[in-house]
């Protein structure tokens, strides 16, 4: 089969995407497919239209590749593609929108408020910040609404740290959310064709929070899969993850990130196209389920063809 692997692009997660893409290409070759690697740039549509692959493997992360943009182009070109569709990608990428969908579907997610820059610049939203203390309390997590890999995510332990954290988050997006910080275990559930994979727990080293560098450096964060959870806990985590997958309309594969606090699991976000690098969580979870990376890639491809409009 002719498989185009879409990777790179202009997003800030370009480096991660190139690593995901390289690994997918290798697996596809081993599976006997004809691989067409494409670093997504200005000639993307022309290349795809010329090469007419049977299916496109989207190994792109961040804006452009994970937010529905590339997916829309693939739909126009009539090329089946891996991972969630346009609408689901759009919902997952925008954390604020995603949290509203989760809340509406009764999927637990930490309390939050969201602001865009205009609110601060033109509507005096700064005066509303004071009221948030009683509503959310401290510490707060402040993050850009769209963005991945923990870029621009800051913790604020008190009001003094809020303006600086907001400026950091606004460096990545026009809209930011202030979210109640939930103390607990950091879990990730990969979902493959609507079925949950074993739960992964990320245990940061040296009391570090799970940050950008730790995510992509071997040995910085310890991962345990399957996570040591009681039966009820594991069931609650899986059910929250599947609830999120359904609420956001995902298909193919995705990864749901959660915190398991005293009040049970809370969904933080859903990654429409999770990383597929050497240190990424979804491949680890697949492996724990007895699935090699090749098998995982093969399955993702199969799902893409199944859901493609005939």
């Amino acid at each position: 089969m002719k498989v185009a692997v879409l990777k790179g692009g202009r997003s800030l997660e370009r480096g991660v995407s190139l690593r995901s893409g390289a690994r997918v290409e290798d697996a596809l070759q081993r599976l006997g497919h004809e691989v067409q690697p494409i670093d997504a740039g200005g000639d993307l549509v022309k290349l795809l239209d010329g090469q007419r692959p049977d299916v496109a493997f989207v190994a792109m992360h961040g804006l452009g590749g994970e937010d529905g943009t590339v997916q829309e182009l693939l739909e126009i070109l009539g090329i089946p593609f891996t991972g969630p569709g346009v609408a689901a990608c759009g919902r997952c990428m925008d954390k604020v929108l995603a949290k509203h969908e989760l809340r509406d579907a009764d999927v637990p997610t930490p309390d939050w408020f969201a602001f865009n820059q205009t609110a601060f610049r033109e509507l005096g939203a700064a005066d509303a910040l004071g009221k948030l203390e009683e509503r959310l309390g401290f510490p707060l997590v402040i993050k850009p609404s769209r963005g991945g890999s923990a870029l621009g995510v800051k913790f604020a332990a008190s009001w003094y740290e809020v303006p600086e954290a907001l400026i950091s988050a606004f460096s990545y997006d026009e809209r930011v959310l202030l979210e109640r910080f939930v103390e607990g275990r950091e879990l990730a559930v990969g979902v493959l064709g609507g079925e949950p994979l074993p739960v992964v727990e990320a245990i940061p080293g040296d009391g570090d929070r799970y940050d950008f560098e730790a995510r992509y450096e071997i040995g910085r964060t310890e991962f345990v899969c399957p996570a040591a959870l009681g039966e009820d806990e594991a069931e609650a985590v899986r059910s929250a993850a599947l609830g999120a997958w359904e609420a956001l309309g995902c298909s193919g594969f995705s990864r749901v990130d959660l915190i398991l606090g005293d009040d049970g699991p809370q969904v933080l976000e859903v990654n429409a196209i999770p990383g597929l690098t050497d240190t990424s969580l979804l491949p680890q979870a697949a492996e724990a389920a007895g699935m090699s990376f090749e098998q995982l890639v093969g399955k993702i491809l199969e799902l893409a063809l199944e859901q493609a409009p005939v």
Binding site: G15, V16, A126, I167, S168, S171, E213, G219, Q284
Partner: protein
């Protein structure tokens, strides 16, 4: 063109990874990946104006000269130029090095010189020779970003001494040495770039140079003087290198052809007292046997022509204009709360913004505008420092790119300053020229105040 097919080895399982992780030496745990690595991956896009590099301008090197020299090498010394060479380097290369050092008033014994693969290898070899895990290494704050991973990989405990407009604060250095004394510890080396420092662009004053050399002599400590830019002076009086002031007993000197000729030839050198040199040579043998003989031949031919000073003079002209362009652009586009250095030579300007701006995050915003710089944290071992500073390169970019690049960064900063005003109710930035700064002795530590503002 079709992509050449090549085999890619992928790790097939997490177990493989864990197997390797179990093999890693302890030092890899403290090796730092270059900060903001993934953001920097985006700066390589062709449409990005990069003020992030440390590149000299090699575009004006006469192609005819290059072709003639390489042809002569091929005609006259093919066999030798393609062969291994001595670990210490060719005597003829050392002659060229003596010429370069002589131009700054230094007269080393040729036997004290080793030719290295760039100045970077010289830093590595010196550390390899003297630094054990846990040893103290002292350097400037900020320091050369490329030295940070070297110190880390030898598991040094690095102490950074603040710089001001006169370079490393030597009084602070003495206090630190005193504190270390009390703990019965002494640093293995004190690393400094005294002239047109990378990244700060500042130059150590004569008084401090004298004092630093004196301290090293009294306490019998090694100073490592890294001097890639000494001959790239645009203005002011040349100052004697530490090596000249000391005579080479307690100062190890590191030089390079990278900034006065070409970084692509990977030729640098170290000058050290004989007992230290002996160990450095052994270390180099283990690292790479010898420095490229081909490029050593090139340098020999090039210096034989006798025009190397004229070429440096032409670079100085270009860089002076570019520095002026950048300073002018900074005055026009950076907010009043920003400050920056105005170097008398070298390749870099160090700019410092209000402390609520994190330059790592600012870089993400700047990249959306297709412009890049180096966030200040890269120049510190403690990554929480330097968060509101940035290094800007002016040597490797055209005047137009400098103006446009600084304008775009300035716009991104202005938006953050305005937002901060809206968030805190603090007075919004009004980019009006400040009066010349009053006496500021205590505040004269980095972040620097801008100089010359309002008086020009």
């Amino acid at each position: 063109m079709e992509e050449t097919p090549h085999r890619r080895r992928a790790h097939t399982s997490t177990r493989d990874l864990e197997r390797y992780a179990g093999l890693f030496a302890a030092r890899t745990g403290v090796m730092r990946s270059s900060a903001m690595r993934d953001l920097m991956a985006v700066t390589a896009r062709p449409e990005v104006i990069s003020l992030a590099g440390g590149l000299p301008d090699t575009s004006t090197f006469p192609a005819g000269t290059f072709a003639a020299q390489m042809t002569r090498i091929a005609q006259e010394s093919t066999a030798e130029a393609l062969q291994y060479g001595p670990t210490e380097g060719f005597a003829e290369t050392v002659d060229c090095i003596l010429e370069v050092m002589g131009a700054e008033g230094m007269l080393p014994d040729p036997d004290d010189v080793i030719v290295t693969t760039g100045g970077q290898q010289a830093i590595d070899l010196v550390c390899k020779t003297v630094v054990d895990p846990g040893d103290v290494v002292i350097c400037e704050a900020p320091t050369y970003p490329g030295a940070v991973p070297v110190f880390c990989s030898y598991q040094a405990e690095t102490i950074q001494i603040d710089c001001d407009t006169e370079g490393m604060d030597v009084a602070e250095l003495e206090r630190v040495l005193g504190r270390l004394d009390e703990q019965g510890r002494r640093p293995k080396l004190i690393y400094s770039v005294p002239s047109f420092q990378n990244p700060a662009g500042v130059t150590m004053s004569l008084e401090r140079r004298r004092r630093l050399v004196e301290i090293a002599r009294q306490r019998e400590l090694l100073v490592v003087e890294d001097n890639p830019y000494g001959l790239l002076r645009f203005g002011g009086e040349p100052l004697p290198p530490l090596y000249q002031l000391d005579g080479g007993d307690f100062v190890i000197y590191i030089g390079t052809f990278s900034k006065i000729l070409s970084p692509g030839i990977r030729l640098g050198w170290a000058v050290a007292p004989p007992p230290v040199m002996e160990k450095i040579v052994l270390g180099k043998q283990a690292s790479d046997l010898c420095t490229s003989t081909l490029t050593q031949h090139f340098v020999r031919e090039y210096f034989g022509e006798g025009n190397w000073r004229a070429y440096i003079d032409s670079l100085v002209e270009i860089y002076r204009d570019r520095r002026d362009t950048m300073v002018e652009a900074l005055r026009e586009h950076f907010p009043a709360q920003a400050s920056w250095t105005e170097p008398e030579g070298g390749l870099f300007i160090w700019a410092t913004l209000p402390e609520y701006i994190d330059t790592g995050d600012l870089l993400a915003k700047a990249l959306r505008e297709d412009v890049a710089f180096v966030p200040g944290q890269a120049a510190f071992v403690d990554e929480s420092r330097g968060r509101s500073s940035m290094r800007l390169n002016f040597s490797g970019v055209s005047d137009d790119e400098i103006r446009e690049g600084v304008r775009r960064i300035g716009k991104a900063i202005a938006e953050q300053v305005e937002l901060y005003g809206a968030l805190t109710g603090e007075q919004e930035a009004v980019p009006e020229p400040e009066p010349a700064p009053a006496e500021e002795s205590a505040a004269d530590v980095l972040p620097f105040r801008k100089t010359g503002e309002g008086s020009a």
